[in-house]
Every structure is written in C-alpha cells, then in structure tokens.
C-alpha cells in the first residue's frame, strides 16, 4: 500500500462477521465472509478491536498503538505496526470505509 494513502483511508472491522472463541492465551476467530479460521494473539486482537470500535486510519493506529498496548513508542516500531495491520488486511478482516478526497 502506498504511504500517501495511509493518512487518508479509513478502515474498519465488522464484528458481525466474526465468531470469536478464547482458548488459553489465544483467540480463535471465524470469519463468516471468508469461511477462514484465524488464531489471534492479544496484540492482533487488540488491533482488530481498535478497528471494530470505530473506523480509523493506519496513521491513527500507529499513533495510538503504544497507548493501546501500554508500551513506549520506541517499543512499537512503525514498520511492525504496519505489518500487523497488513496481515489483517490480507486476511480480509479489515475493510476500507472510504477514500478521502
């Protein structure tokens, strides 16, 4: 995804598409759109919940992620956060809401 789009697109996760089952340290997520089952750790789950709460841009996520996880900014490299977001996108679990003009 081009860097420039990062600050303009809003993304969201639709909870009504998911069935979630917690199992020990991980959560299982069944996506009704794809029929796929995913295993989530707490970090991935927190990011998904972040987008399920209300639409956000990736720039929002990078900004809010340290606080979301209770970590310092140095512990949350931009590239790592972006990669985790990309994994959710590639799995079809987050969707673009709109493109800003």
């Amino acid at each position: 995804m081009a860097e420039g789009m990062e600050s303009t697109w809003l993304w969201f996760a639709d909870r009504s598409h998911f069935c979630i089952h917690d199992m020990g340290e991980v959560s299982y997520l069944y996506c009704m759109r794809s029929g796929d089952t995913h295993v989530f750790n707490t970090v991935s789950m927190a990011i998904l919940e972040y987008f399920a709460e209300k639409p956000h841009s990736i720039a929002d996520l990078i900004e809010d992620f340290p606080e979301l996880m209770g970590l310092s900014r140095e512990e949350c490299p931009r590239g790592v956060v972006r990669r985790m977001f990309n994994e959710l996108d590639e799995a079809g679990l987050v969707m673009p809401l709109e493109a800003a003009p």
Partner: protein, 309 residues
C-alpha cells in the same frame, strides 16, 4: 427391505445386487449405494463387510452412489483396470483389476470426505472406551491406522479408521466403522494381535505398497449408532526403535492441525467452528513418538486416564 447383516443374505443375491447397483450399505450415519461387477471386489466385500447391515432394492435412497469398474470399455478386456467412480470427477489413477478392494475403500473415503456436509469431518482414526473417545490424527505413515487397530485389540471400540465425524449441534463423534487400512509392516503387527482371520488378503504392489484391511468387529458394527465424546487427541509418530516420548500440544495448535486436515470444515462453516471450539475445550492433545505398538497402546491408555481426571 429392512437392513440385515450381509452374512445373512445369500451370496448370490449380494453379487446380483452389486452387479445391478441395488445394494445399499447402511453404516453409521451414511447409506452408500454400491455397484460393481468386479469379482475381487465381491469376494472382499462379502468377507470383510460380512457383519455390516445392507439392504437390497433400487428404491432405497442413498447418501452416496459409488461405482467401481473399468475406466473404459477397452480396459474391461485388455490388461483390465478399475477405478472408483463416486459420481464426480476426481483425479485418480486406474488400478489393476485385482486391486478393486482398494478402489472400493478409496471411493468410499472420497464419497464421505467430499460429499458430506451434515457433519464436520476430520482426518483421524477414532476409538472409544465407554463414551470416551480417542482421536488419532497423523500424517501418512505416522501410524494412525496401526494404533487404531492396536487399540481395538486393547478393548476399545472402533468408531472409524479414517474420519472423526463431529456432529454440528453438539460435541459428539459419530461411528462409521469401516475396515482399518493397514500398510506394509503394520499388516504383520496387526495380524499377530488380531489373528489371520481378521484381515483381508494383502494387496501387493499398490501405490501405497502392500495393503490389507482389518475387519470391523461385529461388536463395533452393533454399536454404530452410539456416539462418543472426544476426550483425547493424539498425534502419533512411529520411529523404529524409538523410546516413548510424549509432549502436550497446545489446544490452539491442535485445533489448527485438525482443521487443516478437514475436508469440509470450510463448507460447513460457522457450525463447524462452534462445535470444533467446544470440542477443543473438552479434550487434551498430545504428540507421541513411539518405537513399538505395545508402548503406544499403554501410553494412550494412561493419557486417557489422565484426561478424564
């Protein structure tokens, strides 16, 4: 016609029904219509399925329709071959005509794996003690069928050698007690435990090596409507002369490995997810590595005891 044990029906009538495609095999939750004029298949079926309920009559609706026969007219006469035809295209190589029993078993596996959507199917052997079921999942050559057959000799009921069949509405496994498929060295191991009469004639030189089938016992067939609750999931690996090694498998990992081996999980969809997750909550999973069958049986017995505490 009410289903009756195959052995109670005249051999000639069975052969005629197989030739015409009017024989129905009623096993576990499935009715399979079988059609074949192959004499090797007839002999095998009459022997290995002798305790299974069958009916004869074209009017009986079946879940699956399976024909085992020549791939074309030419191959009925010139170096005759057979292949299973479950009614849909599936890439499979024709086999020499005397390997029709293998074609039959492959065809029945294909039929259930790819056409069943009433249940969630996992690739695993299943045996049970009372109501407690042990699922044995392994890659090819891992010893799934050998361990399944060995557990039968240790007093466990056979639910299935090939499929753990999970209901969609509750955590319960359905029996589908078909013969246990044994390959190569495991044939002698099981023959020694179960006796010569429990096994079919070995088929030598098949694509899987030498193959023989251990017959499901009459008691397994009689209990084919009794569900069992999964308590233990085993991922076995056989390594010659290895000492026994057991290690727990995280439920999350175990579930993904089971799901990866399911032919219909994605199609069954949400119901499959929900019952699979509920099932995983109630069972323990272990990897075991073993070097002889007696060790593996003892270990599974111990683990099942531990799992139910």
């Amino acid at each position: 016609m009410t289903p009756a044990p195959l052995a109670s029906i005249g051999r000639r009538e069975v052969r005629r029904a197989l030739n015409k495609g009017t024989l129905r095999l009623h096993l576990g939750p499935f009715v399979t219509a079988l059609r074949s004029s192959n004499r090797y298949l007839h002999d095998y079926f009459l022997d290995i399925y002798r305790d299974c309920p069958v009916s004869v009559g074209a009017g009986i609706i079946a879940d699956y329709y399976l024909r085992v026969g020549a791939p074309n007219v030419l191959r009925r006469f010139i170096r005759p071959q057979v292949l299973p035809d479950p009614g849909f295209h599936f890439p499979t190589l024709p086999l020499p005509v005397h390997m029709a029993p293998l074609a039959l078993e492959m065809g029945m596996n294909l039929s259930a794996a790819l056409q069943c959507f009433r249940f969630t199917m996992f690739h695993a052997g299943v045996v049970a003690k009372g109501q407690d079921a042990v699922m044995i999942a392994a890659h090819s050559g891992g010893g799934k069928s050998t361990l399944t057959a060995a557990m039968m000799e240790a007093g466990y009921r056979l639910l299935s050698d090939e499929f753990a069949i999970l209901r969609r509405d509750r955590v319960a496994l359905m029996p589908y007690p078909r013969p246990v498929s044994l390959k190569n060295a495991s044939i002698d191991v099981v023959r020694e435990m179960a006796g010569e009469g429990a096994l079919s004639k070995p088929l030598v030189g098949t694509p899987k090596g030498t193959v023989a089938y251990r017959r499901a016992r009459a008691s397994d067939i009689q209990a084919m409507d009794e569900e069992a609750t999964p308590k233990l999931l085993i991922f076995p690996t056989f390594k010659e002369n290895s000492s026994v090694v057991v290690s727990p498998v995280e439920p999350a990992d175990a579930a993904m490995r089971l799901i990866a081996g399911s032919p219909n999980y994605q199609v069954v969809g949400r119901a499959a997810f929900e019952t699979t997750m509920a099932m995983m909550d109630g069972l323990k999973a272990f990897e075991i590595r073993y070097g002889n069958t007696a060790d593996s049986v003892k270990l599974v017995q111990d683990l099942l005891g531990e799992g139910t505490v």
